[in-house]
């Protein structure tokens, strides 16, 4: 997603990376705007070791919807991924 956002910026578009909060520093180190879209992805993958995947995913839905509601204001297109 960073590669995509950087290439979009190179082509004159503006791109915001909406991602789990623990990626903020990495995204901003590339000079890209960041918008939190859920809690820590690292904690998410850690929890998947001990809890059923769908249960862990379900707990993310509220944070993701709330985050993306903010991130998608004045947006022309959304490119999403499971990463």
């Amino acid at each position: 997603m960073l590669a995509l956002a950087l290439d979009l910026r190179r082509r004159g578009h503006s791109a915001t990376v909406a991602a789990p909060a623990n990626f903020k520093a990495m995204v901003e180190s590339y000079g890209l705007p960041f918008s939190p879209a859920s809690a820590s992805y690292e904690r998410f993958t850690e929890e998947m070791r001990t809890r059923p995947f769908l249960e862990v995913l379900r707990d993310q839905i509220d944070a993701q919807f709330a985050g993306l509601l903010d991130a998608s204001v004045k947006t022309d297109v959304i490119v999403d991924s499971m990463l």
């Binding site: 950087l6 993958t45 769908l54 490119v79």
Partner: protein
């Protein structure tokens, strides 16, 4: 969210195994060789699990946004909008998907500048190595994964650079050959 905003939406899959197909089962059963009928049944079973497990929370939000409920949560989450497969063609092969319009873009690479000197040195020391990256994947035993990777590279007689990512695999030079 794109539906709520009334804007186009794309979903990028980093590997073909995440896209529904009769040629492979869902990724949770990825280590099993099954035929088309069994693959189809496995996708349907996972769809049922997703809809039961995530449907109420997903549709609760959709209701708040005045959007119609979705009947199939997995299909909605993984197969909506323009699907992009950001994977090298040689790794994906030519899969036939059960969802239309998948566009294969090739992998998306982030230019991170120069390689660390020890990796650069290893690359120059012999034949071009194969790169295997684990990204954000986590495993129950990083040591077992490490042993497996070394065994696989030895059997395949390839020099290999392993991107441990978040796997917590031990890092170091195993054998310069």
């Amino acid at each position: 969210m794109a539906e709520f905003r009334g804007i186009p939406y794309s979903f990028m899959h980093p590997a073909h195994v995440f896209i529904r197909s009769d040629q492979h089962p869902p990724v949770t059963e990825a280590n099993q060789e099954m035929g088309p009928a069994a693959n189809r049944a496995a996708w349907a079973a996972r769809e049922s699990d997703w809809t039961r497990g995530l449907g109420p929370a997903l549709n609760g939000w959709r209701e708040r946004l005045n959007l119609r409920p979705v009947a199939e949560a997995q299909d909605h989450a993984l197969h909506s909008g323009q699907l992009l497969l950001a994977c090298e063609q040689m790794l994906a092969g030519n899969p036939c998907f059960a969802v239309p319009g998948v566009k294969v873009t090739g992998a998306w690479y982030l230019d991170q500048g120069t390689l660390p000197p020890e990796i650069e040195g290893f690359c120059r020391m012999g034949e071009s190595p194969l790169f295997v990256g684990f990204g954000s994947m986590r495993f129950r035993s990083a040591d077992e994964l490490s042993d497996l990777m070394i065994e696989a590279a030895t059997m395949a007689e390839v020099r290999c650079v392993i991107g441990a990512g978040w796997s917590e695999m031990p890092v170091g030079l195993v054998n310069s050959n």
